[in-house]
Symmetry: C2
Subunit: 117 residues, 2 copies
């Protein structure tokens, strides 16, 4: 069957630990990433963990973006789940690598909604 969505799973390492501790910053750049990719933002929710770490989700008309940061490891995980052909999710990986000042990124792409072969 036809795939219903594309799912990019991105893991960043060697990020700036102060930046990825800052919930307002992480929210700002995730919203900007969604806009750069051509997504239509519906709503968002971000949470700051104690002692540190940020989790956030941006619900978009095309599905969602999610982020989790681990300042103690300098690591960030980002998911970009998108439906339709309007969005360009691939622009997000390089943009966030730059703003998080990540040394490396590891990207996987999966089809969603498709049955096993």
């Amino acid at each position: 069957m036809t795939s219903l969505g594309r799912h990019l799973l991105i893991d960043y390492h060697g990020c700036d630990r102060e930046l990825i501790t800052d919930t307002a910053f992480v929210r700002k750049v995730l919203l900007e990433a969604a806009t750069r990719a051509g997504a239509t933002i519906v709503t968002d929710v971000f949470h700051t963990f104690n002692p540190h770490g940020v989790s956030g989700v941006v619900v978009i008309a095309e599905s969602h973006l999610a982020v989790h940061t681990w300042p103690e490891h300098g690591s960030v995980a980002v998911d970009v789940f998108s439906c339709g052909t309007k969005m360009r999710p691939e622009v997000i990986e390089a943009f966030l690598k730059d703003v998080f000042r990540a040394k490396t990124s590891f990207v996987r792409e999966l089809e969603r909604g498709s049955a096993p072969c």
Copy 2:
């Protein structure tokens, strides 16, 4: 390096189309799935699309659950991203298959936060 999280990607097909159109129902069962898996719920956001379809996210202390439904295809995609050893994300797949009355489910599990080999 050690993995920072487990990510279950579940795709259901042949679901009850009325049930997966009902945002209140989808929210209720996602919250129950989180509780059954031993997660600590932080907040949630659900959105109903026009003409139909539901997107929702439950932010948990252990990371997040996300759901997207396509009533026109009878399909549902669920993500369970969890950190730590307290949660039992594997109980979610069977529970949601039952409540969505899915004919089939397709599960993939990925490690997150780990670098490429």
